[in-house]
């Protein structure tokens, strides 16, 4: 069982008031709050160990390098990657995906295709749209139903002719809260000669990701959604695949050799870590994962499932409110989106915010999905391990109050 008060005491940001109300932070799919151990680790780094890693012979450089690579080892263990050098530090999941997209698409053209669904966040859609313009490969859309379930028959059809090179797929939808069946997708993909890139940005703080047993070829996530700082992301990929991708950023550290008229790119991980990395952020991410790993996945998943069940129970009692995503609560994770008749998401979120309740309104960087659902804007509530049932219970009454005010009694 999670000791919620003890957990919450570790988060400075959670202990604040908004207009006399306690903060109720339910926008975790956007970003998570940070425990003080993460902030302390970053401050300590700057106060004691700050130097440029892998670039000096002095004691500070040694400690900086150690801290940097220790964090890499922490990430490796966290996602059960087979080799540490396969874990690349990037700026965020978007950059990680762009590295794979640019790298793979460099060799693609007419006759090649990717298979992707409308569930995807813009970070896992736009890079492919951009590259399609440039390279001329085809984007084949996997059918989904309104609850977000991917149609595997649709995928089978798409894979039939062997033209699909890659399937970029989310491990957890930031909108509908459903989890595509990754094992089934990976099996089909590999059977048809396609690779799989898993966007784990949303799932990373809610479910264990084991790249070895999962069998995916690439995985991306952002540190700030895992109680770590902004400005740090992770790209994991199979070594033999990553070493064939052209580097994104040319600069210091990422070359094996450089002459006045040529250079040879280094192997992973430095191949993709050109220039001085966000060292303090790497240290912060390592500290976040070490902190987070103290809690069992069983406890975290059970707690969050209870929270979401309560969310659905409470919100279904608000007249005119409609939720989207899987009806079956066991299929849900992370986020719940909803609309309220006659009340715009933006107004609702603004007025909830004034009471300290932090939700998100809009299309949550998933415009195509919203269009598919026939929606212009929705309000999103998303949980993390530090949220409480008490917090959830403040939401429905607040929504009712606000609807009264906006509609006029």
């Amino acid at each position: 069982m999670l000791d919620l008060p003890a957990i919450r005491r570790q988060f400075p940001a959670l202990n604040q008031q908004v207009n006399g109300n306690p903060l109720v932070y339910l926008d975790n799919a956007a970003t998570t709050q940070k425990p003080h151990v993460v902030l302390d680790a970053m401050t300590h780094f700057y106060e004691r160990d700050n130097a440029n890693p892998h670039r000096g012979m002095h004691p500070l450089a040694e400690r900086a390098t150690e801290a940097f690579e220790h964090a890499r080892a922490t990430v490796t263990r966290f996602i059960h990657a087979p080799r540490q050098e396969e874990v690349i530090f990037t700026k965020n999941a978007t950059e990680s995906i762009n590295i794979v997209a640019r790298g793979l698409a460099a060799k693609w053209g007419k006759g090649d295709a990717i298979a992707i669904s409308l569930l995807e966040h813009h970070s896992n859609l736009v890079p492919w749209l951009m590259l399609r313009e440039e390279k001329g490969f085809e984007i084949r859309w996997i059918d989904t139903d309104p609850e977000g379930h991917l149609d595997l028959h649709s995928l089978d059809e798409i894979l039939k002719d062997g033209a699909v090179r890659l399937i970029p797929v989310t491990a957890l939808s930031n909108v509908l809260g459903n989890r595509p069946p990754l094992e089934a997708i990976i099996e089909r993909a590999h059977g048809a000669g396609a690779l799989v890139l898993v966007d784990a940005a949303q799932s990373i703080a809610h479910h264990e990701m084991n790249v070895t047993t999962l069998g995916c070829d690439f995985l991306a996530f952002s540190g700030h959604k895992l109680f770590g700082p902004t400005g740090i992301g992770i790209l994991w990929g199979r070594g033999n695949l990553l070493n064939k991708l052209p580097p994104l950023l040319g600069g210091g550290m990422m070359m094996e050799d450089v002459c006045s008229d040529s250079f040879v790119a280094a192997e992973i991980p430095t191949r993709f870590e050109g220039g001085t990395p966000p060292v303090a952020e790497v240290v912060g991410l390592g500290a976040a994962i070490e902190w987070f790993s103290k809690y069992s996945w069983k406890d975290i998943e059970a707690h969050e499932a209870r929270l979401l069940s309560l969310v659905m129970q409470e919100l279904s009692g608000v007249s005119g409110l409609k939720m989207y995503g899987p009806q079956n609560i066991t299929e849900r994770s992370g986020s719940v989106i909803f609309t309220v008749d006659g009340v715009h998401a933006h107004d609702l979120a603004h007025l909830l915010g004034e009471r300290g309740i932090c939700l998100r309104a809009g299309n949550h960087c998933a415009k195509l999905l919203h269009e598919r659902l026939g929606l212009l804007a929705t309000t999103r509530l998303s949980v993390a391990l530090y949220n409480t049932e008490e917090e959830i219970r403040t939401v429905a009454p607040a929504i009712r109050d606000i609807c009264k005010k906006l509609r006029g009694s």
Partner: protein, 136 residues
């Protein structure tokens, strides 16, 4: 001051001018993609004067109220006056403290009206930056 003051809510609940015109001289649709406000504005112009304003769309109360108020304001204005309209004018109509988060909601109407005028004169639409910086 409360952003959702009674005058705002009145206009949002019972918007003025929210119908489409039979023969508009100019029309323009603008969308705030990030928050889901969608506005189509129509102007009827005779002898360089705005004689009628029509509009349609869905969006937050602020965007609806602002459009409702602006549609009242525009009737009788010359095209030159429409061209010269500044964000300040719309914010004064709303008469509440809008704040940076909702500025685009409040100014969507102005953006659409400006670009309706431009469409009428065969000009390229102006950017949000141009609409927002209109006070400078």
């Amino acid at each position: 001051m409360d952003l959702y003051a009674e005058n705002i809510l009145d206009h949002a609940r019972r918007p003025h001018g929210k119908t489409l015109l039979k023969n508009p001289t100019a029309e323009r649709r603008e969308i705030n993609a990030s928050c889901g406000d969608d506005l189509t504005v129509q102007l009827q112009v005779k002898n360089d004067i705005v004689t009628k304003v029509g509009w349609m769309g869905a969006g937050c109360a602020i965007s609806q109220a602002a459009m409702s108020m602006l549609s009242d304001e525009l009737v009788g204005k010359t095209i030159k006056e429409v061209e010269a309209l500044k964000p300040k004018a719309v914010l004064e109509l709303l008469n509440v403290n809008v704040g940076p988060r909702r500025l685009k909601c409040a100014l969507l109407c102005l953006h659409a009206v400006k670009n309706a005028r431009r469409a009428m004169e065969g000009m390229k639409p102006q950017s949000w930056a141009e609409t927002m910086n209109g006070d400078q």
